[in-house]
Symmetry: C2
Subunit: 884 residues, 2 copies
């Protein structure tokens, strides 16, 4: 077994492709050393295989020998020995897994120093202060990271040394004091571990390597991998590398450099450096760094060399790189490189510019693959500007973007405040259709309960308005809320980040969402790639939404919810009249009023989407949603008493109330017990379509039956629809007949299982993955996300929130099954999805694999869906942007 | 194509096996004619193929010719012609499908009569009155059944004729008056149809045949087939048979005879007959019939001949037969035979006796196959005694048996009345755990809402107490209920039949359930047959239930619901204390109290089931079920105000209240957020088991985790259980360690889909088909059964109530999938089912097919499950008893 590879090992293939074996850091170090021939301090990588062997059976047999061999090779290459009392070699030990991962041991520097070799270092460098400072840093890091000694005592002792020296910075602490600090540090270690600080470099090295291995299974690393769905079996590599020093005087320095600006994407090197400093000084921010361009002034030759290296790296990696470098006594060393993280705006600009860059020649497919959903979110929505902030609590990131406003606790108060010109955040336990005006008036929405597909979340995403939902720690009482001891009263300013779920006390500065021109270019390329494969539609219920969706590139409406049309102030009383109707005649009168209103709604939507398909879902929600709250009326009845109308409403509300409304009288079941309802809706729709056609438009109508469980049920409902269409046609203007298709949602597990039968009565299927998720997992979205989802994700019982990213193994199989069984019975069956998953990149990948024709999502998600659909077609996968 | 077969056609196989082609009636007529050589009036059968051809493409080509040919053969055999003015042949036309089916056209008699042939009949018989009476009967039947003329006008005219003749019975109406009736009847037909009554026998015959074909698709027949899950494609046969007359004088007669007593099963012929009468007179009950034994006195030779025929039939069919016969002028004719319907007691007695009958030699397997669930229900539970009764309304047949008692509307009132010695029926909108004492005190339970797996239904079945649930027409207000205009006040007597769902005003006489000895014999044979294939366990929560279940033959407990143990008066306050606990310490105190109580419960159950497995399900229901009603407390808060304790309860009830509790915080999810709960339960169980073992018992414990959705979740829960077991063991008496298996319910669709993974953490699966049904169909049992199930079954949208008989296509596939995937990962995985379907014969067949090891049902269903399990093993299928 080979466990250890020198950076210059001949792998027989590009080492950058061996991240599985060498980890990301090791692969890039080997690439720079063996392929690019860059000045990299020599070293070796202990592979992930060694880590895996360690996890299964303890310290691997033979590993000690391999490390010893490579150590010797390294020592002879450097002409120095670890622990040499006269001229010691020092090394760094760093972890490096395939994916960068918080929670793992990071770095031990200066390993190899001990009470003797520190003298050698002092002698060789002629710098006692440097030697003792290096030693105290090593002890401190090693003790904390490898030995698990808490850091506070070291800091206290160092603080004492600073005071003793009247030091302004640590550079003012002299060698003599630093030697005392070293003695103190060793004492701390001995007190905590019961043993002296290890002097043998072999012992130091092995302990550091083992600490890296162990940190793979730290709770934080485990939680991170569970959250990111990374395998727990990968293991990490360990990189051992000769130390070079940027703090050897004014001909030394260290820096971080990007090959392009990671914020804007602008061409040209970008970064920071410090003269006479170590890497940690750059990161810690204790000294003010200089821009990279200043390097030209201080070290013109080094600067030119670095720029040449940057050019070579970009040409080689065909991407923007993030590097760390050190100048030791006038010599440049490259310590690390990786593909650089970038903002959304930068990602877009670089992807487009690299197509034209003759050194890189990116293809359109590659350019599209490099953009993530987060990149788009950040350019489409305002964000918290960088800077410190105190997070009050965190909820679910329910609708992206950031908002600042005064807290109000009822929809009426919020609307009134907005009317006075205030910026408002609406804070509610949960929202309901009655809160719509307050939500419309608010900059952002915060709810204490409810999850990613709660009313608040769905409406907010539909409007592109930031929302944080299910913030369980928020306890609302009257016109204030508390998080722990902090109380926020009405009118106090809070800030929300719907992209992260953060709730902040006070106003946070926002960076406005700015849509760069490159977005249009990238999305046009994405559209080219996915054309004929996966269309993107929007969920839109009004003409306004439909217009917006079309502007975002939607190719139709996949879900027009007709119930939202029932909730207007002018509609709700008529809906209640229909529900309360004592006779079929009274019901018919109410339905007739609704018909006229619905027709106007449909006209707007069809006009906005002229020429593109509009899928209209017939009424779906349980009727009690249109009735007032039972408890409220019951309390009123017991106190002030009810009017005659209210008594009637209370009786109806009680009658229609259900124990589990999600599994109750809704969807096509409403049609079965109130067939006039669906006939009315179809009639209104057909009249609107005929009117559009008469006016020269091209309405494309798809009528969708919700909550089907059987072929017989769908056939019955299809019958009503066909009769209503025929009646409308026979009553309509000649020559304005409109082609209509009739299909169903697949949102019960039974419908997915029986898809072959159901398909016989359907022209199309639209997977309702929200309800499918609720029923497959037994997860009520209204109840589970707040109370249960947190513990389930934290404990790894579910890899992802299944309302955010489709549950592949369960719900995903139902989608696959429904699609293949449906098509087996009817090969041309059109298939789509209109749940919230329609806008989620990973879910879109699954929908593409299942053979769906389109996804439908809220208008603001359309750009992301277009991108993700193209990436699915490319097989690039949504999760490929891991290093960016 | 051959469409028509004479009764003596040579089929090349026993015609009784050709019911698919000839229908039941035709097959038996051919069997009697061609195989048994019995005196059957000749005739022919138009096959079901002709009917199918008719349904697809109208009157089949060639059918007229075939009918004409067979008619001629019949005429020459009888030496008479249809419509012959001097000596006419008359025929009957009857439908006869494979399965007997209400709603189809039944019989037209005397076809072939017209204005001329009636005279020939009169001349030949020398009986003018007989001839005209026959003609008016024919017109009346033909008009009503074939031509669709309403019957009332005929009855009115006949009533006039009776008055005119001062007739006591129709026999007193003379020939002259009957001739006038005939003219009148023809006038009615002409007025209604616009055409004269058809005189041509060809036209009459074709119209009658077509009417039979058409009646196959009558709404009633369609609904019946949907309900009974019979194919709509079968079609019916039509039998055309020469008429014989039992009303030709005192040497004629007609009767119905059974080869054994269908009520008791006693050997020896049983039946009724009438001298000088037609078959319809026997059925109509207008004349008092004589017992069949009297035939011996009147027609000794005929009697002997008939008894010989009965013996031959039993020997041939190897079962009890139901026959119709006619004596015409001293000659015996057999008109029909079929395997006879029978009571439960008779079925059991006959099945056992026919084993020893040398003429029949039934096998044990055949004997077991002939008993149905309905047979057992009728001997295990009291029933309404035969006799007239006025049904007030019908609800769901929720728990079999009948009950009579005074109506009470609250559990307290019912319990108080029972304490005073009254017989009580508890009437509620629905029941909840708080009604338990009233339910226990009642003879029967009637609910206006809720379905077959509602609380009332499940509890009633568990106790073997009659219940009618979801009687939607019942409107309760205060201490009375109304059905339409009928009001039933507190204390008024009503009767319930939980086997049929009937609710009757007043007291109906009951026939007590009587368990015949043969039941034990049959069930013992059933046990032999199913041994090693499918075990039967019971759902039982208490020692009493477990003892009863064991007496009924249960081989263990498949579901011991621990929540029922939480509901006692002494437990509920402690449960609330646990829920309300502000600190972990307070929670621990409450849990400790519950542990002591639970241990006692477990001791009783384990003792009752000593040596047999007991599956204990850890707490499953949402916690709000243990808290008071929010609305009630809110109203109280707004009116009289709340105590401090009540305020705390209201806050908790609000906090735990859920929008869809079925899909909320329940099952293993409770364990995730309150891990101490499950540890407490396991500890109590293990202590009880150890105590049982120390006392010399053999406890067999299976611990079941409810509502699992993933392997990770089950593995976590398994971990808690294992830790609790280990802790109990380490604290326990040495040498009392008990073997325990740990498994899970499969009740979410996801768990069924991911069964291979879930199996890795499970020793057994128990399918929770109630919840699986709710989630697969999106059917909340509390909401759907009352409002939706009725319309769905009536309109054929669902073939069966899926809470009663498992939905094969949907839920059934999930069970199959769960079983096969689970076993693919763990071949020895034990599989059972503990939903209400565990006691349903058709569902048991599916469970056997899916490879389950056991079913579990309420104690009173155990005998039926034992029988059905044996029938499943025999492959006889649960639905095979169609003719009995």
């Amino acid at each position: 077994m080979t466990y250890v590879y020198a950076f210059d090992h001949e792998h027989g293939q590009a080492p950058m492709t061996l991240k599985d074996l060498l980890g990301g850091k090791g692969a890039n170090l080997a690439e720079m050393t063996s392929v690019l021939d860059l000045p990299v301090p020599p070293g070796f990588t202990i592979s992930t295989e060694a880590c895996r062997a360690y996890m299964h059976g303890g310290w691997p047999e033979g590993l000690d020998d391999e490390v010893a061999t490579h150590r010797k090779t390294l020592e002879s290459a450097m002409g120095k020995r670890l622990g040499d009392p006269s001229d010691p070699l020092l090394v760094s030990v760093r972890s490096g897994a395939k994916f960068s991962m918080p929670g793992m041991m990071d770095t031990v520097l200066n390993l190899g120093l001990n009470d003797e070799s520190v003298e050698g270092l002092a002698k060789q460098t002629g710098d006692d202060r440097f030697a003792y400072d290096s030693y105290r840093r090593f002890i401190q890091m090693f003790a904390k990271i490898v030995l698990g000694v808490p850091g506070e005592e070291f800091e206290e002792l160092l603080e004492g040394a600073r005071k003793l020296s009247s030091a302004r910075t640590d550079a003012d602490i002299g060698a003599e004091v630093l030697a005392m600090v070293v003695r103190g540090f060793k004492g701390i270690v001995e007190a905590h571990t019961g043993a002296a600080f290890p002097q043998d470099p072999d012992v130091q090295l092995r302990a550091a390597i083992e600490a890296v291995f162990s940190s793979w299974n730290s709770p934080r690393a485990n939680a991170y991998r569970s959250r990111e769905r990374l395998s727990h079996d990968l293991g990490t590599a360990v990189n051992v590398q000769a130390m070079v020093f940027g703090n050897r005087g004014d001909d030394s320095g260290t820096g971080v450099g990007f090959t392009r600006d990671p914020s804007t994407g602008a061409k040209g090197a970008y970064g920071d450096f410090l003269i006479n400093a170590q890497g940690e000084d750059v990161v810690a921010g204790t000294r003010t760094t200089q821009p990279l361009s200043d390097l030209k002034v201080h070290f013109p030759e080094i600067y030119d060399e670095l720029m040449g290296i940057f050019d070579g790296l970009e040409r080689h990696y065909r991407d923007m790189l993030d590097t760390e470098f050190t100048v030791e006594s006038g010599k440049l060393w490259m310590l690390q490189t990786r593909v650089g993280k970038r903002t959304g705006a930068a990602a877009l600009r670089m992807a487009v510019e690299m197509i034209d860059d003759p050194a890189i020649k990116l293809s359109k497919a590659e350019a599209v693959s490099r953009i993530t959903a987060d990149h788009l979110d950040s350019v489409l929505h305002p964000q918290f500007a960088p800077g410190p902030r105190t997070v009050l609590t965190k909820g679910l990131a329910a609708s992206p973007g950031a908002a600042v406003g005064k807290a109000y606790f009822t929809a009426d108060d919020a609307a009134a405040a907005a009317a006075r010109g205030e910026q408002v955040v609406l804070v509610r336990n949960e929202t309901s259709p009655e809160d719509i005006h307050g939500m419309a008036a608010a900059e952002g929405i915060l709810t204490a309960r409810g999850g990613l597909v709660s009313h608040a979340a769905v409406v907010a995403r539909g409007w592109g308005k930031p929302a944080v939902c299910g913030a369980e720690q928020v306890r609302i009482s009257g016109s204030s809320f508390a998080v722990g001891n902090v109380v926020v009263s009405e009118g106090e300013v809070i800030s929300l980040d719907g992209t992260t779920g953060e709730v902040v006390l006070g106003a946070v500065a926002l960076s406005a969402g700015h849509v760069p021109d490159e977005l249009t270019t990238i999305l046009a390329w994405a559209d080219e790639i996915r054309a004929g494969h996966l269309a993107v539609r929007a969920n839109a219920d009004t003409g306004t939404d439909a217009t917006r969706a079309r502007a975002f590139g939607a190719e139709g409406i996949g879900l027009c919810r007709t119930e939202h049309m029932f909730l207007g102030d002018d509609r709700l009383p008529v809906v209640r009249e229909m529900i309360l109707a004592a006779t079929p005649e009274a019901e018919a009168v109410a339905l007739e009023k609704l018909r006229a209103a619905q027709k106007e709604d449909f006209l707007e939507v069809l006009e906005a989407m002229d020429g593109l398909p509009v899928t209209v879902r017939l009424l779906d929600p349980p009727l009690h949603e249109f009735l007032p709250d039972v408890e409220e009326l019951a309390v009123k009845a017991a106190t002030t008493g009810l009017s005659v109308d209210e008594v009637e409403l209370l009786v109806a509300a009680r009658w229609w109330r259900e124990v589990n409304p999600m599994l109750g009288t809704r969807g096509v079941r409403l049609g079965v017990i109130k067939p006039g309802l669906y006939a009315m809706q179809v009639r209104a729709l057909m009249e609107a379509a005929a009117e559009r056609k008469a006016a020269g438009g091209t309405p494309v109508v798809e009528i969708m039956i919700p909550l089907t469980i059987s072929r017989e049920e769908l056939a019955l409902a299809r019958g009503w629809v066909e009769v209503a269409i025929a009646e409308a046609a026979s009553a309509g203007v000649p020559g304005t007949a409109v082609d209509v298709t009739i299909g169903t949602m697949i949102e019960t597990p039974r419908a997915a299982l029986l898809a072959a039968e159901v398909a016989e009565a359907a022209d199309f299927f639209s997977f309702g993955t929200n309800d499918l998720t609720q029923m497959a997992l037994g997860f009520s979205r209204d109840d589970i996300e707040g109370r249960i989802m947190g513990p389930y994700l934290e404990q790894g019982l579910l890899a992802r929130n299944p309302f955010e990213t489709i549950d592949r193994a369960g719900v995903g199989e139902l989608v696959h099954m429904g699609a293949s069984r449906g098509r087996s019975a009817k090969p041309g069956l059109k298939l789509g999805v209109c749940g919230e998953h329609g806008g989620d990149p990973e879910s879109i990948e699954l929908f593409f694999d299942a053979g769906l024709d389109y996804v439908s999502c809220s208008p603001y998600r359309v750009p992301i869906a277009r991108l993700a659909a193209a990436q699915a077609v490319l097989g690039a996968g949504a999760g490929s942007g891991d290093t960016r």
